[in-house]
Amino acid sequence: MADLRSFDKMPLLNAGAVLLLGGEESWRERLAQALLRDPRSFQVQIHMAPGLPLPTDPHRPRFDLLVLFISLHSPAGLTEALRDLSRMDPHFLLGRVCFVAAAGGARRPRALEEEAVRRLADTHCSPLLFLHTDSEEDVRCVARRLLQLLSVCAGLVPGVSALSLASFTWSSTGN
């Protein structure tokens, strides 16, 4: 099974494909539902997997955006994310990867320091969002943010590319 390629297929017409990776299954599903529920002007294709590599499937579309869940409750969250990162085309890291650090339930103990997750996202020059899966509102807001990101990554916003957006969020802070 090969690594996930970024440019081996033609893009979809007026549509964006997003791959949700890692984390807990229920979280991926809730986010996917929220993504589909939000009103938007383009089609969204959502694929979900617990991790890379994916089984071979010729009908799989070209992914415009990879969403990497990192569970703040699991001590292995970081290593899983790193493993997935090593199995994808590095071109994805030019603005088409988004980390989502997720936590659900105030009672559940946290195994990961937020700082470590932030460092991971920083070293991979990718945005990091925080998701609190308990709150319906929060899931909806994160879905909305991801859709904005997806529309840029899928090339649906003329004049702005995924890379230019990533470099903007990077350069606007001076580092």
Binding site: A103, G104, G105, A106, R108, R110, R118, P127, L128, L129, F130, L131, H132, D134, S135, E137, D138, C141, V142, R144, R145, L146, Q148, L149, V152, V157, G159, V160, L165, F168, T169, S172, T173, G174
Partner: protein, 712 residues
């Protein structure tokens, strides 16, 4: 009487059976003998009746008084006493006498240590239902002495933490606490008590508190929070219930630990004083009871003898007390408010720690916003809260968070960059058009607040000899904020070309362009090309007019800079760099070239709209250079068509080219009459018309006035 009120309401809701049970239980406990077995069936029947009544409706005040006496006097077995005290959930306020009686029994040492612990926990839990806190305050020493007791210590620390006011902080107490602290090491409850001492008298407690520790007291100190809340909620639902409990606010009680039950504390106590004539009261008491404070004139008369409430949270919604905090010279109230706010925000609104934050948290944030608006000042605690929560912010509680952002106090640029600009730019990049507009509006409000703050404190800064440092720091922060907003605006206009968005961006620059004249700030920052060009080539007249107005104001500001530099030769006025003038002139030349002299596409700006003449000719567009002048500009073509139709209603081929010569002047007047005031100001200030209306056939050829250009 409260008890009768309670009873009446019980009867009305057909719950008199439980009241009857209570009466029976009281009668039983009056006669019960000392050595009754704890397994006695009659006893356990009455106990469970009290428990049920307590958990469902609360125990009325006289019942509390009676059972407190029974439970603490150790007449019965300990297990019975424990059950009894645990079910004493008050239905209304607890009278002063009961508290005093309870504490005296507690001090008498008749009851076991477990009962003592339970009693203190009970006191902490019902703290908000004790109307007159000075009872506890006068008993301060009794509690303090028991701190020696290891078992009681954590609970007493919590209770003292709630009671302590400034008067209680005395050197001998601080010494005692530090001694205990040395003995016990880093002991959270003691640290909590010390922290409140430190807030009142920082000079007495030199001890450094660990900043990471915030929760000094465990929630387990409280007996029943949800039940009490439920009882209060149920009781508020009934209008015939004890009125005193629910005077003023409709807010239901939250958890006790957070001191944010402003519905309880100050308004509740009003009737305590009603038995004494008002004037008597004033003569007898040094301090003016804040419950009596109703009008502004009262505040003015008694400002010297006000004492702030034990619960700082009650200040939040009381404008008079906020006035007081605002004008008083002492730092303590402000420090206390800040401290209280920091811990409450952390406890109640920190969704980023995984707590579920509901509507109540939003309401609270709203109250904080209102308070800051009232004080016209951002508090450092809400700033710290924002910095912690912004990386986690996905857009919930949007209005409140954005308003909090606009009250961030001005700080060093590097800090703002790390904590505000970085997370905000990510939020902005992934936000909808609507949120983008809101963020820009809140950044405008932030800048405005900074500028107003500066103009208010400018006098102070000038008088200060070290003022220059502060001034340059302030200028850097302001400039960075403007540049940051410029970058956000550029990105936003790249992603979405929307008239609404442009309107918000230009609103921001309307404030920026006037900083020199309006706020006396030696700073002129021009919009980046990514904002200027989209605004110049926009398709709606409102924004074009707005841009014209802004450019005129920039001009006024720059001319003032030049004038003052000539006259005053003051160093501070020379800080506007030559580059700014040059850039402004380039923008101006482009604008005049596009709108007036029909010389579009000859821009000299590196990011300007420049096209080779051959390339332009190859497009085949007739007279392409004219395409952005006042007649053909996409934002104005509607006006020119309307004008032409009014002038030549029967003209066969519709030719906009007809608008020239004296028609051009008529057209200008027409535009002005349509409300294009910005355009009028711009043309009147920036365009000097050398060849007037003498040649009607020729298009007016005017020279733009680049007066600001030749500045040395």
């Amino acid at each position: 009487m409260a008890v009768q009120d309670v009873r009446r309401s019980f009867q009305r809701t057909r719950q008199d059976s439980s009241v009857q049970q209570l009466d029976e239980a009281i009668a039983y406990f009056k006669t019960v003998c000392r050595n009754v077995s704890s397994k006695d069936s009659l006893l356990s029947k009455h106990l469970s009746a009290i428990e049920v009544l307590g958990m469902q409706h609360g125990i009325p005040a006289d019942g509390i008084d009676f059972f407190l006496d029974i439970a603490l006097s150790s007449k019965l077995a300990d297990s019975v006493n424990t059950r009894l005290l645990r079910s004493l959930l008050p239905a209304s306020e607890i009278p002063k006498s009961s508290v005093i009686k309870g504490v005296s029994l507690f001090c008498a040492g008749k009851c076991s240590s477990n009962m003592k612990v339970l009693f203190i926990r009970w006191l902490i839990t019902v703290y908000d239902l004790i109307p007159c806190k000075d009872v506890l305050s006068s008993l301060y020493n009794f509690f303090f002495i028991f701190l020696q007791d290891d078992k009681l210590c954590p609970y007493l620390c919590h209770l003292l933490y709630l009671i302590t006011s400034k008067d209680h902080v005395r050197p001998y107490r601080v010494r005692k606490l530090l001694e205990l602290q040395n003995k016990k090491g880093s002991y959270p409850p003691l640290l909590g008590l010390l922290s409140i001492y430190k807030i009142f008298c920082p000079e007495m407690v030199s001890f450094v508190l660990p900043s990471r520790l915030k929760n000094f007291f465990k929630g387990s100190n409280l007996l029943w929070t949800s039940e009490l809340r439920a009882v209060v909620k149920r009781n508020t639902g009934d209008p015939t219930m004890d009125r005193r409990l629910f005077v003023g606010e409709k807010r239901t009680a939250g958890s006790r630990k957070r001191k944010w039950n402003c519905g309880f504390s100050p308004p509740v106590s009003t009737n305590i004083w009603s038995s004494v004539p008002f004037s008597d009261n004033l003569n007898r008491n040094e301090t003016f009871p804040i419950e009596k404070l109703q009008t502004f004139s009262q505040l003015l008369e008694n400002i010297h003898r006000l004492e702030l409430p034990a619960q700082m949270g009650s200040v939040l919604k009381n404008p008079l007390l906020l006035h007081y905090i605002n004008c008083i010279k002492e730092d303590t109230p402000f420090l206390r408010l800040n401290y209280w706010l920091a811990s409450t925000l952390q406890e109640e609104c920190a969704w980023y720690t995984g707590k579920t934050c509901d509507k109540e948290a939003g309401e609270f944030l709203g109250a904080v916003v209102e308070m800051q608006q009232f004080l016209q000042e951002g508090l450092s605690s809400s700033e710290a809260f924002l910095y912690k929560s912004l990386p986690h912010w996905n857009g919930n509680h949007r209005t409140q968070i954005l308003k909090l952002i606009s009250w961030i106090p001005i700080g060093p640029s590097s800090e703002l960059e790390l904590f505000l600009y970085k997370p905000l730019s990510l939020v902005f990049a992934t936000s909808s058009l609507n949120l983008k507009c809101d963020i820009l509006a809140s950044l405008k409000a932030l800048l405005q607040n900074w500028l107003i703050w500066h103009s208010v404190s400018a006098e102070k800064l000038r008088a200060d000899t070290t003022g220059n440092h502060t001034m340059s720091g302030f200028l850097t922060s302001v400039e960075d904020l403007i540049q940051f907003t410029g970058r956000l605006s550029t990105l936003a206009l790249q992603m979405q070309s929307s008239a609404l968005l442009l309107n918000f961006i230009l609103d921001f620059y309307e404030l920026v362009c006037d900083m020199y004249v309006r706020f006396d700030l030696p700073l002129v920052v021009l919009p980046p090309p990514g904002v200027f060009y989209p605004a110049l080539l926009c398709t709606d007249s409102v924004n074009l007019d707005h841009l014209c107005y802004i450019m005129t104001r920039y001009r006024t500001n720059l001319v003032t800079v030049k004038d003052q530099a000539k006259h005053k030769r003051d160093k501070i006025y020379m800080t506007i760099s030559r580059q700014t003038f040059e850039e402004y002139n380039q923008y101006l030349a482009t604008m005049v070239g596009c709108l007036w002299t029909s010389q579009a596409f000859q821009d000299t700006h590196p990011q300007g709209i420049k096209l080779d003449p051959e390339l332009l000719a190859s497009t085949g567009v007739p007279s392409a250079n004219k395409s952005f002048n006042l007649v053909f500009h996409p934002a104005l073509i509607g006006y020119s068509s309307k004008f032409l139709y009014q002038k030549f209603p029967e003209e066969r081929p519709f030719q906009l080219n007809l608008i020239r010569g004296h028609m051009w002047n008529k057209y200008l007047e027409f535009l002005y009459s349509q409300g294009m005031n910005g355009l009028q100001l711009f043309i009147e200030s920036s365009v000097t018309r050398v060849s007037g209306n003498t040649e009607p056939q020729k298009e007016p050829i005017e020279k733009s006035d680049l007066a600001a250009q030749n500045l040395n």
